[in-house]
């Protein structure tokens, strides 16, 4: 498997993603500068976290105009896997590849913490091998992670099984105390209608090795590997 990891000015999780795919998973990853026009034949794309363009105007608002985003949109339209993590999720919503928007956290603070999320659907390439009953422990680090969309969109997300991850307690219960940022319906991650484009606020790449406190994030990478192989 060859994964393209997009690098914007201000990306800061690109190398963590590269490490997860190469060192931990033993696959190939290529860092692709945002000024490039093609993904070099990659089978999947990761739009990593960070503060692309310093979050100027709004998180992700400027990055979506980078030349590489045309190639990402084409890759997505062809039904191939794309995952946006944190700032990558914000960029995918700003680009219109995913519905809704990420607002400032309800508490106004930047939150850096470990959270639990439960997987709501195995229909995406990034959640295919995740056991839904077992919550995943992954870190979050964001100020703008408060997911919002209008009531019609939220109904569509529910009806079409587009909610992929929800913040939950350690034993998998939905609880406002376990929702760190005020996201609607406890949403931590969603996908597009086709299921091939996924965005989430937690950082799976930072939870791929026991030394990091959790290996739960690795399942997202093993999922996409197994999707591509099959």
């Amino acid at each position: 498997m060859n994964i393209a990891i997009i690098v914007f000015p201000g990306s800061n999780c690109d190398h963590d993603c590269h490490h997860a795919v190469t060192t931990v998973l033993g696959q190939t990853a290529t860092l692709v500068w945002h000024k490039e026009n093609n993904l070099g034949g990659a089978e999947a794309v990761i739009v990593p976290g960070g503060f692309s363009y310093g979050d100027y105007l709004r998180a992700g608002a400027i990055s979506r105009f980078s030349p590489i985003m045309n190639a990402v949109a084409t890759h997505a339209a062809e039904g191939r896997p794309v995952m946006g993590i944190c700032n990558g999720f914000q960029i995918l919503t700003e680009s219109g590849l995913l519905p809704g928007a990420l607002r400032q956290n309800e508490c106004l603070h930047f939150i850096c913490d470990n959270v639990y999320v439960r997987c709501e659907t195995a229909r995406t390439p990034f959640s295919k091998v995740i056991t839904p009953e077992v919550p995943l422990r992954m870190p979050i680090a964001h100020r703008d992670g408060n997911y919002y969309c209008n009531p019609d969109t939220i109904s569509r997300l529910e009806d079409n099984e587009q909610i992929v991850f929800k913040y939950c307690t350690v034993d998998g219960k939905l609880d406002s105390q376990a929702n760190p940022n005020g996201s609607m319906e406890h949403i931590a991650g969603i996908c597009n209608l086709e299921g091939n484009v996924v965005g989430l606020m937690p950082h799976p790449e930072r939870a791929c090795e026991a030394d990091m406190g959790s290996k739960d994030g690795l399942t997202l990478f093993t999922s996409v590997l197994s999707s591509i192989k099959s």
């Binding site: 709004r58 608002a61 919503t93 809704g100 928007a101 607002r103 309800e106 106004l108 969309c149 005020g182």
Partner: protein
């Protein structure tokens, strides 16, 4: 040149946590009767003049496509046309 003054806020009805925090700070300072506070962005754009309708359409397009996120934000604007208000030369001070 014309000037566009653009104001962007969270949509009415959406919780504005910054506005709420400012409102609480104002009441803790003793300012009574503050019913609501909304915090937003203010953007000034200097732009070449064109017939009034065109300029408005163009700036609205800028707002919809980049400056505001229509999912969560509203915008309003003021257009100052023929804005040749260069500041007067500083008077000599001796």
């Amino acid at each position: 040149m014309a000037k566009a003054l653009i104001y962007i806020t969270y949509k009415q009805g959406l919780l504005d946590p910054q506005g709420q925090a400012v409102k609480e700070a104002l009441s803790s300072l003793g300012f009574m009767g503050v019913d609501d506070v909304r915090v937003g962005k203010y953007i000034e754009i200097e732009i070449e003049d064109s017939p009034s309708g065109e300029l408005k359409t163009q700036v609205e397009k800028m707002c919809r496509e980049l400056l505001a996120n229509p999912v969560i934000e509203d915008f309003r604007m003021e257009l100052l046309e023929n804005n040749n208000s260069t500041s007067p030369p500083p008077s000599d001070t001796q």
